[in-house]
Symmetry: C2
Subunit: 144 residues, 2 copies
């Protein structure tokens, strides 16, 4: 999906975030690539198009978007932070074999968690891990 840069800039302005080229491109990238990218991946993909881009800017921008509630941070794996455009709450499944992260619909907000009476819940993350169907099939083939 191609995201309009003008629309994206407007969206930033509405949140009182000055729409610099870097910010607009990074936010548009996040909307086009719903693959939960790491800073590394965002940088590698955008650097050819924005040669001046620095990795520090990607870090700064993601932290800015995080504070503004535009993106969510995923801590599904210990050695890497991933980011996700904010949308209706959903779960994340990481395939241990290919590393891909899948979204799945789940009603996190309605979970009964009686032990948390009196707690203010601001964030709910559901992380599953295992093997995706594609990798499972490949494993069966290997075994033959």
């Amino acid at each position: 999906m191609k995201i309009s840069l003008e629309e994206t800039a407007k969206e930033l302005s509405e949140r009182n975030i000055r729409p610099s080229i870097q910010r607009v491109r990074i936010l548009a990238y996040m909307k086009e690539n719903l693959c939960h990218p790491t800073v590394e991946k965002i940088y590698n993909d955008l650097h050819p198009e924005i040669p001046s881009l620095s990795k520090t800017t990607v870090y700064n921008t993601l932290n800015l978007f995080l504070a503004a509630g535009l993106v969510r941070m995923l801590n599904i794996e210990e050695n890497e932070i991933r980011y996700d455009i904010v949308m209706k709450t959903h779960g994340h499944f990481k395939c241990e074999s290919c590393g891909e992260i899948f979204n799945f619909r789940i009603n996190i907000d309605d979970f009964p968690a009686d032990d948390l009476n009196g707690f203010t819940i601001k964030d709910r993350d559901v992380y599953f891990k295992g093997v995706c169907p594609k990798c499972r099939k490949e494993k069966v083939k290997e075994a033959e």
Copy 2:
């Protein structure tokens, strides 16, 4: 709760893990301290009792226990790995104010996740964040 070191050693032996002093003490520590400690905390707490203890050993031992399924790894926060003795699946709530992590009962295994038909699910983690009751009360006081 005081954990028997003999019992703990036996438990390791049964899993074919040689029960060195360090391993036994670390596992006993995990059972006594259900506070989801970091490697740092485990090291700081045990070092006075085992002066020779090295932080590397704590890392090695936790990774060993992890592979053996004795502990779980918590990636609730991006800059720290925490560990938890394995028990019935439960959720984890981290208070943004005091940093404490609370367990709460939740039937993760029964979640309907129809999008994951065909997926093999091995691990399920539920992380909530917000403010615990104690910190909420303190904030109200401050506001007065």
